[in-house]
Symmetry: C2
Subunit: 414 residues, 2 copies
């Protein structure tokens, strides 16, 4: 398969972009859906932010007029650059805080909107069991405050669960474990028909899949900066609120960076009129600096092209797996149009297999209890990597490497 892989790489219109990322020697990195690779432009951007903007500019860098840093606007600026990747307008997106914290704000905002407009008090937040844990936990946080009720229903029953109590349908577009995609259009429509608002978690979509938030008439969204956007470990997340809701937007994390006039130092909170209201504390400038580089690079490559390549990579990987005689239990949808940029396989020894692959330089992910998850970040992976990874996987099985004791012992953190 290696010859075919090389032909595919030679014909790949994105092949030149690999050189814009730092991919360590000897590593086939199938975990860009957990932490994206480092863009080669990032170290210089970070050094500039640290040494020039902070070191020389000091407090003056908060303003746009001094040294051009404009830190105050940075959350809005990076948000505006993420917007076209997800079908949003620039003023609908802000880069701030974490996915978890942004979920808390937006679930709260949905509850407040429902309380304002509804005749009955809708308090149910509907999601699916097995959604990414933090999404479910953040509902529980509001539940512990007595403000929300968590309801989890398997995805095939979600439509039926959209009753008069549901304030918000909150789902992750591409499932973190299986990669299975929701039909955003159909579910958003169904939720709206039932009087519910919709929040899409785009953590496993943004930068790898085309998303059209305004096309499907979404209300809210959140997404992750450190996966396909290559913003670095623990990068700031983003949040989206549809323009039509800006007038009614209220959320309880009312920090000074979300104030209409933070430097008036008033005793009373007055929310900024737009998406800036979602900011809470002081913007994390160093994290935003790295995120901006990643977003710009992904935007330059283009989400449509990334999606095409992502599908081609995973299809070719499956072809290589088959050609190696491996018969694996695929839990991701077989049709690449129905899944995110990943393939997940179920195996009782998934943990040890993952460790054996890592020892060979093939870095994938184990997801408890029995899932080997391989991500195909299309910006920097080659078809040759697919052929090599499949060969390594076949050898792990042929040589029963996963049975070695050093791969069996699970660490607390994986």
């Amino acid at each position: 398969m290696i010859e075919k892989a090389r032909e595919l790489d030679a014909a790949d219109p994105l092949s030149a972009f690999r050189a814009r990322f730092h991919v360590p020697d000897g590593v086939i990195y199938l975990d860009g859906n957990s932490l994206g690779c480092l863009p080669k432009a990032t170290p210089a951007a970070m050094a500039h932010a640290v040494e020039r903007e902070w070191g020389d500019g000091l407090i003056r860098s908060w303003n746009a007029s001094e040294l051009g840093a404009g830190w105050f606007e940075m959350g809005s600026r990076v948000g505006a650059r993420i917007a076209p990747l997800i079908g949003a307008q620039p003023q609908e997106v802000i880069a701030t805080d974490t996915v978890s914290t942004n979920l808390f704000k937006l679930i709260s905002a949905a509850l407040a909107m429902q309380a304002q407009t509804g005749t009955t008090r809708r308090k149910v937040i509907l999601s699916e069991p097995g959604n990414f844990p933090t999404d479910i936990y953040m509902i529980q946080g509001l539940e512990s405050q007595g403000l929300a009720t968590r309801r989890l229903a398997p995805r095939e029953h979600l439509m039926a669960e959209l009753d008069d109590d549901v304030a918000l349908l909150m789902l992750t577009h591409a499932h973190y474990k299986t990669g299975e995609l929701f039909d955003m259009d159909a579910l958003t429509k169904a939720a709206h028909d039932a009087g519910a608002l919709v929040l899409w978690d785009l953590s496993h979509s943004t930068g790898a899949l085309p998303v059209d938030l305004n096309g499907v008439n979404a209300d809210f969204a959140v997404g992750c900066g450190y996966k396909y956007l290559c913003g670095g470990p623990g990068a700031p997340a983003f949040a989206f609120v549809a323009q039509r809701h800006h007038g009614d937007l209220k959320q309880p994390l009312t920090g000074w960076f979300g104030h209409a006039r933070p430097f008036a130092f008033l005793d009373d909170y007055e929310a900024a009129p737009g998406i800036e209201q979602l900011q809470c504390g002081t913007s994390p400038i160093l994290g935003l600096t790295a995120l901006e580089v990643g977003v710009d690079l992904i935007a330059e490559i283009g989400v449509e092209r990334l999606h095409q390549k992502s599908r081609a990579l995973s299809e070719f990987f499956l072809e290589c797996v088959l050609s190696n005689g491996l018969d694996l239990d695929l839990v991701s949808p077989r049709d690449s149009s129905e899944r995110g940029s990943q393939l997940s396989f179920r195996h009782d020894n998934a943990y040890a297999i993952c460790q054996a692959l890592i020892a060979r330089g093939v870095i994938g992910d184990f997801r408890d209890p029995d899932i080997l998850r391989l991500g195909f970040a299309p910006a920097y992976l080659r078809f040759e990597d697919m052929a090599d990874a499949a060969r390594h996987l076949a050898e792990v099985f042929e040589r029963s490497e996963w049975q070695r004791p050093e791969f069996a012992a699970r660490s607390a953190v994986t």
Copy 2:
């Protein structure tokens, strides 16, 4: 005064530490209480985190066993290093999120503890008007949820306001505008006697003033990473919860990083047993990297020595101001034992004066509506800087520079 200044610098046991910071040429930086200077060790630490830990280590750097990065523990590790600066035990402090978000968690935690133990339902959060705005705004956030009631009383009336409705007394140790200090010991005792818990905001204290949280029996505290701790713009903040409260700790920002077993990917939230419960989303590794360098450097210099020098600097500055024949309206306490590491002056033209000083390379701060705030970060300022700054200030008045039109126009953000 310049000769006396040089004598004082020559005798200053901390004078050598200035070389460990990047202080831009031509700048006298009297705003380290807003954004601390860059430690010279930070750029290399950031480059290492970006290029080696992220670039080479990739996802493996989350674990301590791979490349030694140990990102998962980083919030706890940096928190433990902050602990001795504020009289806390290592396991009582965590570096995470922002001051604002941490306030929300800890106010919520206080309300939950009061609901659990109290006979009546205490909902009042007592603070003072003119406290740093975000502190007051975060109370309003919980008020908007119907969970708290904000009560603001001038500091001389706080003790009298500690009635049976007060759940939490929440104050900033060193006032951001005037530098005035609260007596932490007396107020904590008074609050406890009245059945209230106490939260101290140490944003303008940590790294400049000795604080003994356990000595005064404090319940909660928050503090800022980007002022005296020199953690960089928008650095992660920290939070403290006294060990005796860990068993009862409950807060509503229940993200996956605060889960007891985040990588079990369970549907139900189970709080981590200790201070780690205050983590919510994924830790901001790049921000924590810079913060760690600043904390280590400040800890190496030592808070007691920093405080002594800070007092000496501000005393000497006032002496220089007087010797220049200036008669300014000092709003900070005259006794340096009663104020933080700053001096604030009231003047109708404070904004223009501040701008005229900045044009001369003397960077202070304007605080609406009429305060010129000069901070004396003791780690990198010299007595010579005090003499020079006072001379510049005198010249601004002698030459009426603040009347120049270019200094009068207020920008939206100052």
